[in-house]
Each structure stands twice: as C-alpha cells, then as structure tokens.
C-alpha cells in the first residue's frame, strides 16, 4: 500500500499535536517514526489507523483519500494490522481465537484466506513460533509470547499496512533485541508496509528502511538510517539520534576550528549539514573523537568522569571550555590530560 500525507495538522483543543506533516510511504517499505514522548508520533500512527481525524490536510492510501478534515474512513473499513504498545490482547479469548478474529470479522479478508481459515491460522502461528500454544489464554503467556500473539493477530488477515506502536517498550532489554529480529522476519515474510513508532533510536536504526524523526509535532528529518545517523541536519537529530556533541567554533569553508583552540586545530567537515555551518557548530559523535597522549597534538582536554562499559570507556572530557562525551577503548584515569582528535577516516559509509 502506498501512503501519502499532505499538510496534515492535528489539534486537540489548544494543543497542536501535528503541524503540516508531509510524508510518502512506498509499498512494502519499513518506516520508523522516531521521537521523544509528546512529539506527535503516536498521533500520526493513530491517524494512519483511522482512530484520529486530521484537523486539516489529507491522507491518501493507494491514491484514495481516507482521511481529511471532513471525511474519515473508520479503522474497521481499512485493511490495516496494528500492534499495540501493551499488546491489547482480549483476556477472554485464547490465542487461536485471537488470530481467527480478524480473519472472520474483517469484511475485506481475501477469499483465499477466509476459505482456508485453519491453515492460515496455523501458518501465522508458525511464523511467530506459537503453534504449540494455540489453546493458551493470554494470562498464561510471558511478555514476549503476548507480543507474538499481538503480531500474529495483526497480520492474520494479510493487511497491506502494518502499524506498530512502540511494540517492544513493555519487554525487557534482552527480549527486545530478539524481537527486533522477529519483526524484521515478519516484514520480510509478509511484504506489507510497516510503520513503526518508537522513541528508541536503536530500534529505528536497526530495522527501518527509512526513519522519520519528529519533534514537537513537526518532521525534523527524513532519511535512511545511515543518513540520519551520520548526517544529521538539525541540532535535535544530532543529539537525539547520534548522541552527538555540538562543538562550538567557526567554519572556514569545509574546515572547522573549535573555539579556544587557537587556529592550530582544524577539523575537516565537508559532509556537515548547512545548518551547523551557518551556526558555528560541529556535531561530533562520541565514537568519532579519539583520545591519545598529550604529545599527539590536537586539542588538550582533561578527564572529568569515567564509566567502564565492558568493551570501552565512556568519558566526559573538558576541553577548550566545553564538555564532550567520548567513547574510547583506551583506559585513562580521572583528571588525566588527554589529546582529543578526529581521525580523517570518518564519514565514510556505503
């Protein structure tokens, strides 16, 4: 299913949840909508589902207007699957009944599926690895199993769009990593478009074909995971997604001179977005900076805090009157003096 959002706005009373959102989603694409809580990402998702109506603007699915200021096709008439944040399983139905419900209820279930209901249920349960639990009730399942049921129910009637509302946020850390793989495989198997809402940049970066970063009801940046991570276009994206330090200084064409370094230090930055160049900023990710002995030259800084992380250390470094986060495998002690450099092999990606 292809989806177009044109100038979509949504207000709740005096609160504006979405401002002029424009977005195109291609058939079969996996799009992650990423942002902090209150950025409007859930409102956007609920609008795609049909639970909310735009205040202005319109939404088209496969070229047809499904929602505008004066019209709305309700969720039950769209062919959509949705996975809810807290699973939303029905406590009085077993797993088999959960998967059967949309197949029987949805008027637009393809005839092939409706005619082979039992086979389809078995197929979907096998896909999420729950075949052996078909008779269980929701309260007899673990969190991960509940989420698999929710996914199975969402894809049972073969929707051409699958919406996911922070589906992993109620699971614990290890399970989250495993479920990412499951969701990717569901996306590959079904081939339906996926819109995935999350506040976790790791989930968005690892699974999505494209990421939409939102802030305060506006789209900040749209791009591939690499684009978003390596070439942020706004301060917000740089900090929220790449966890970048915003180093103050001034630009001389493609060369950046950090504040307080004299002009002995120059960083190359041909790929840095125009916004930062015009504001005298250089976004540097903690893993981009390299620490070395003072005699290496470069900016000299001091270790203000150390956190051992296993394979590396997280440092707070004070240099040139600013504080930066740096990730480095080299051990230093508190108050050590270090040199901070950016190796020139940076900014290469496929």
């Amino acid at each position: 299913m292809t989806i177009q959002l044109r100038e979509v706005c949504k207000t709740f009373g005096s609160y504006t949840a979405l401002r002029n959102v424009n977005l195109d989603i291609a058939d079969g694409e996996f799009v992650a909508i990423l942002g902090p809580s209150g950025c409007g990402k859930t409102t956007l998702l609920r609008m795609l589902a049909g639970f909310e109506q735009p205040t202005s603007g319109e939404i088209r699915m496969d070229g047809e207007v499904v929602a505008g200021a004066s019209s709305l096709i309700p969720p039950e008439k769209r062919r959509i699957g949705m996975v809810f944040q807290h699973f939303a399983l029905w406590p009085h139905m077993n797993i088999h009944e959960h998967v059967r419900f949309p197949i029987r209820t949805h008027k637009k279930t393809p005839k092939a599926i409706r005619d082979n209901e039992a086979a389809r249920i078995e197929q979907v349960l096998a896909l999420v690895g729950l075949s052996h639990l078909a008779k269980r009730m929701p309260h007899e399942l673990s969190g991960g199993q509940k989420q698999r049921v929710a996914i199975a129910r969402a894809i049972a009637a073969e929707p051409s769009l699958l919406l996911m509302d922070e589906p992993l946020s109620s699971l614990d850390a290890l399970l989250r990593m495993n479920m990412r793989r499951e969701i990717q495989s569901v996306h590959r198997e079904t081939g339906s478009a996926v819109v995935y809402v999350t506040h976790d940049q790791g989930e968005a970066l690892s699974m999505a074909d494209r990421i939409v970063v939102m802030k305060e009801g506006r789209i900040e940046q749209i791009g591939s995971p690499q684009d978003i991570y390596l070439k942020p276009e706004t301060e917000f994206v740089a900090q929220f997604v790449s966890k970048a330090n915003l180093v103050r200084g001034h630009w001389d064409n493609d060369m950046f001179i950090p504040e307080g370094s004299g002009s002995s230090v120059q960083w190359r930055g041909s790929e840095v977005a125009g916004y930062f160049k015009s504001n005298g900023l250089y976004p540097v990710r903690p893993d981009q900076l390299e620490l070395g002995p003072v005699q290496d030259g470069g900016l000299v800084g001091q270790v203000a805090n150390v956190q051992f992380q296993g394979k590396e250390f997280n440092y707070d470094i004070i240099a040139a009157g600013q504080q930066w986060e740096v990730i480095s495998p080299v051990p230093y002690k508190l108050n050590d003096k270090v040199s901070v450099t950016i190796p020139q092999r940076e900014l290469q990606y496929a």
């Binding site: 299913m1 292809t2 058939d27 079969g28 589902a49 049909g50 639970f51 699915m61 496969d62 070229g63 047809e64 207007v65 499904v66 505008g68 004066s70 019209s71 709305l72 096709i73 309700p74 969720p75 039950e76 008439k77 062919r79 959509i80 699957g81 949705m82 809810f84 944040q85 807290h86 939303a88 399983l89 029905w90 406590p91 009085h92 139905m93 077993n94 419900f101 949309p102 209820t105 949805h106 008027k107 637009k108 279930t109 393809p110 009730m137 929701p138 309260h139 129910r153 969402a154 009637a157 073969e158 051409s160 919406l163 079904t190 081939g191 339906s192 478009a193």
Partner: protein, 585 residues
C-alpha cells in the same frame, strides 16, 4: 504477496465508495446534537426539576415568596427535639461504624487471618440486608421472646434484655448496618499504602505501634474520613431503622418526621414537609461535598497497586483474634437472623418454642391467603425487574460515554443523575410527588398513586448505582481492547458483542444485582409514593410492623433473606464461570 494484495484492495475500496460525503456527515452531526439536547432535557426533567420544585414549594405560599414555613419550624419545640435526636443518632452510629470498620479493615488488610474471603462475605452481608430486615432481626433477638431473653433467663429468671426501641437501639443497629461501608473504603486505602513506606519507618527506628500511628493511619486518614462521611450520609438517609424502632416510642428523626408530616396531611403538609426536606437535603449536600473533598485528597495513592499479602503475622494470637471476629460477626448477623426466622415459624407471638409449635402458617398466610401481600410481592418483583432492565441499558451506555468520551457535559449529567441517590430517600420521594402531580403547569399526567411513579422514582434513584458499576467495569477494559477489535474489522455491533460485553458482564451484572435487590426491598421512597394496590414488599412489612403483626413481618423478611442468599449465590456462580473462561489480563 504484497503487490497482489494491494491490487485486490484497490478494487475493493473502489467499490466500497471511499469517503463519507460531506452532507451525510453534517446530517449525522445534526442527529448527534439532537440526541445530546434530548439527553440534556431528560436529565434536567428527571433529576434536576424535582429538586427545584421542592425548593420552590418550601418558600412559596398563596401570597408569594415567604420564609414563614421555616420560621414556624424554628419556633416549634418538637423540631429542635427531632434535630437533637437526629444528630445524636447519626453521630453516634457513625462513630460506632467507624470504630468497627477501621478495626475490621486493618485486620483483614494486614494480618494473616484465615478464611478472609468468607469473613469478607459475612461483613458485606450486614450491609446487603435491607436495614428493616436487620432491625427486625435484632428486635426479635432482643425481644421478650427472643434468644437473648432465653439466654439471660439461664442466669436470672426476671432478667430483661436491653430494649431496642430506644435511641441507643437505633444507634446500635444503624452502626452495625453501616460499618461495612467504612470497612470497604478503609480496606482499599490500607491495601494501597505501599509496604516499603512502613519498612522505611521501621529502618528509621520506629516500632510497630509508632509505625501504625505515624505512617499507616495518617496515610489512611483521608480514606477513613471519606468512609465515615459516607456513613454519616447513609445514616441521615436511613428511614427503616428509626421508623421501626423509634416511631413506636415517639422518637423521631428528620426522615421519619418528614414522613409523618406528609402522611398526616392537614393544611400545608407538603410545604412543611418540603421545608424540612430542604433542611435535611442541605445537611446531606454539605456532607457529600466534604466527602468529595476528602476522596479527592486521597487520590494521591490511587495509582498504586493493591497489596493483598499480609504484613503482620498474628502468631499465637491468630486463633483468638480470628475466633473473636467470627464470633462477633455471627452474633451481629447470623444469630439475630436465626432469631427472626424462628419467630416467623411460631404459631403465636407469646407461645412456647418447641417442635410442636413450629408452623409454616405465617408463610402460608403471607404467600397464599392474602391477595394484597401477593400483589405487593408481584409489584416489587415487576418494579425491580423493569428498573433493572432500564438501568442496565441506560446505565451501561452512559458509563461507556462517561469513560470513553469524557466531557464537561456528561460529567454534569452524572452529577445530576447522582442527586436522587445522594439526597435522603424521603426527600427525593417528596420531590417526586411534587413534580409528577403537575410536571408542566396545566398538565397532570395522572401517574401519582400508580406504579408508574414508583418505577420512575426507582430508576431515577438507582440509575447511578448501575452507572458506577459500569464506569468501574469500563475503566478496567482498556480502550485498546476496542481499538484492536476495530483494526481487526469489527463494527460497533461486533465490538460490543464479542469484546465489550464478555469483558464487562461480571462487573455490570454485579451492579445490576445490587440495583435489583435494592429496588426489590426498597422502603423509604415507596413508603411515600405507594397507594392502595401499589404496595411493595417493604411497605407491606412496614405495615405489618405498625399493626403489630410481627409474625407476618418476620415471615416476609425471612423470605427476603432467602432471596438475597439465592441472588448472591447465583452471582458467585456466574463470576466463577467467567473466571474459568479467562482470567483478567
């Protein structure tokens, strides 16, 4: 797979005719506003207008507006005496309820007592019984023919039990009848106090008693106060207990005084009743406001989970604490009930009690010999069934909108709907008479004195009970349950049938049973609104009691008790059935 799907989808959505045309949408919104206006008008007519009429009547005579009814009232010695009695009885019974309720709640919430479920049931039973049934039980238990007298005679042949027909007796019965309210409120609050707060106090060096006094009680205080105020209101409202125990010995409280005024007729009886009602209503409203205020203050702990695990091990004391609790509960309910039932099986009030004198004559008379009583039973059954049906439908739908689409308007409507239940029953009954004699100037629908006015009154008064049960039930069903069904293609009908009703039914039916039983045994409102041919069970028992036919009143009351036990048993079975089908998430 995806490409073939989308093409199918395109064809289908094309056929289905995508969006709603603009005109259709605005037409439906006109319909919506029409419904809204209708609802608002009905709410005003049924719930607000009666009170307005009552107020108006109390300040109006032939000459126009006047406060003469009030000034006349304040001059009467009798009014002040009644007011004194009212306050002594209400405050005394509230204090008794709070003492019993808090102790019971603490034991049930925090200690490792055995058989808590049964104990809980026994406590709630005291409140579920109609107050006049409890009164009759106690008056037969403590009467000259009762079990207590036989017990005392073992020690002293001339001993007489304490008379229930006194201010003390009224306070006692009212106190035990209402203590479950404090108990339930406090139990909830206590269970929600996080255990670690108590641990923190203990690691800070506070002993057991100090922890209870400085941490547990202050945190529970708003809940206890709210429960106490609820009991205060219930005691003000109560008509059955003072009417059964006070009227025969000339002790009146405000609610029975209003009844006597209206029944006594005479010139300006309605106006005097109305002014008394306004005074009683004002006290009740003040109490309600205070109660809201304290409940709101206690909201801070609302989000914490209930902690069902015991916190204090009673150790060796468990046996005797448990024993005392069982003994006390059995003594205040089961023993008096048995006493009432044995009384109802006697041939005559003064006769000796042995197997030969036991008889079912009283039941035969009540059920078969007397067509008026049979008529009353039929009336009550019909009325409570229709009330149940009306409340189930209206209450559930209203609760749905109240929870899913909260707005200022439906909040206001809920407030209006709760008026008839908040006001003392006798006040509400009088306002019903006033409004239905001539609802709109020049139009008398002629329903005063028919079962219709009783039906309207019952539905208006008990609707809020069903709404509250419905609201609680809906709050437990997350909106995402419905949304998941919508996404799965379910329209409104399927959503209610397959998702909402199965999930809501236990809660809604619990509320429904409460409405049904309350309506079935209703006395206060019916006492003012009935006329010949439209008696109810409550009114009939009241009549027997006034006429001194104790054997009949106890027989009919015993039947009610049987009915309540059967009803409660059915509900238990039903809820067990649901629990087996699928526990809550």
């Amino acid at each position: 797979m995806a490409t073939s799907n989308t093409s199918v989808l395109k064809a289908e959505t094309g056929k289905g005719g995508g969006t709603f045309p603009r005109s259709l949408l605005s037409a439906s919104s006109i319909g919506r506003y029409g419904l809204l206006a209708l609802g608002a008008a009905a709410t005003f007519f049924f719930f607000v207008l009666p009170i307005a009429k009552l107020l108006l009547l109390s300040v109006q005579n032939e000459q126009g507006f006047t406060l003469s009814y009030y000034t006349e009232l304040f001059r009467q010695e009798r009014f002040w005496k009644v007011l004194r009695h009212t306050f002594v009885i209400v405050l005394g019974s509230t204090a008794l309820s709070m003492g019993l309720g808090v102790v019971a709640a603490w034991l049930m919430a925090y200690t490792d007592l055995k058989h808590k479920k049964l104990l809980n049931l026994l406590i709630v039973l005291v409140f579920v019984l109609p107050s006049y049934v409890l009164t009759l039980s106690w008056s037969s238990f403590m009467g000259t023919q009762g079990l207590m007298a036989s017990f005392l005679h073992l020690f002293d042949a001339g001993a007489k039990p304490w008379s229930m027909y006194s201010v003390g007796g009224i306070i006692f019965v009212m106190g035990i009848h209402h203590f479950p309210l404090v108990y339930l409120f406090t139990l909830n609050v206590l269970k929600k106090i996080p255990r670690d707060l108590e641990w923190a106090a203990k690691t800070g060096g506070a002993g057991k008693l100090k922890t209870i006094a400085q941490v547990t009680l202050p945190l529970a205080f708003p809940g206890i106060t709210a429960g106490g105020l609820l009991v205060f209101l219930a005691s003000l409202d109560n008509f059955g207990i003072p009417a059964f125990l006070g009227t025969p010995v000339n002790i009146s409280v405000l609610s029975t005084l209003i009844y006597e005024e209206i029944i006594g007729f005479g010139p300006s009886a309605f106006a005097r009743g109305a002014s008394l009602s306004v005074l009683l209503g004002l006290i009740a409203i003040a109490g309600t406001l205070l109660q809201w205020f304290t409940v709101r203050k206690s909201k801070a702990t609302e989000t914490t989970r209930m902690d069902e695990e015991p916190r204090y091990a009673l150790g060796k004391a468990r046996a005797w604490v448990g024993g005392t609790m069982w003994g006390a509960l059995i003594l205040i309910t089961i023993v008096p009930l048995l006493s009432m039932i044995t009384l109802s099986l006697r041939k005559s009030y003064g006769g000796k009690l042995n197997w030969n004198t036991l008889t079912l004559d009283n039941y035969r008379h009540v059920l078969f010999d007397n067509p008026t009583i049979w008529r009353a039973i039929q009336n009550s059954l019909t009325l409570s069934l229709i009330t149940l049906a009306a409340c189930l439908v209206i209450g559930t739908l209203f609760a749905f909108y109240r929870v899913r689409k909260p707005s200022k308007l439906n909040k206001l409507a809920e407030l209006a709907i709760s008026i008839p239940y908040t006001l003392p029953g006798i006040v509400f009954a009088l306002s019903m008479i006033l409004v239905w004699m001539e609802p709109i100037p020049g139009w008398n629908p002629g329903i005063y004195g028919t079962t219709t006015i009783l039906l309207i009154a019952y539905v208006c008064r008990f609707l809020v009970l069903q709404i509250r049960a419905g609201v609680t039930a809906f709050m437990q069903v997350d909106a995402s349950m419905e949304e998941a069904a919508r996404i799965s293609g379910a329209g409104a009908w399927t959503r209610w049938k397959a998702i909402l009703l199965p999930l809501l039914l236990p809660g809604i039916l619990g509320g429904g049973l409460l409405v049904f039983l309350t309506a079935l045994t209703e006395l206060t409102v019916s006492a003012l609104l009935y006329s010949s041919g439209t008696q109810t069970i409550g009114v009939t028992i009241f009549g027997f009691e006034q006429a001194g036919k104790t054997l009949y009143s106890t027989a009919l009351s015993s039947l009610i008790v049987l009915f309540i036990f059967v009803g409660a048993g059915l509900l238990q079975l039903l809820q067990k059935g649901f629990a087996r089908k699928g526990g809550r998430n």
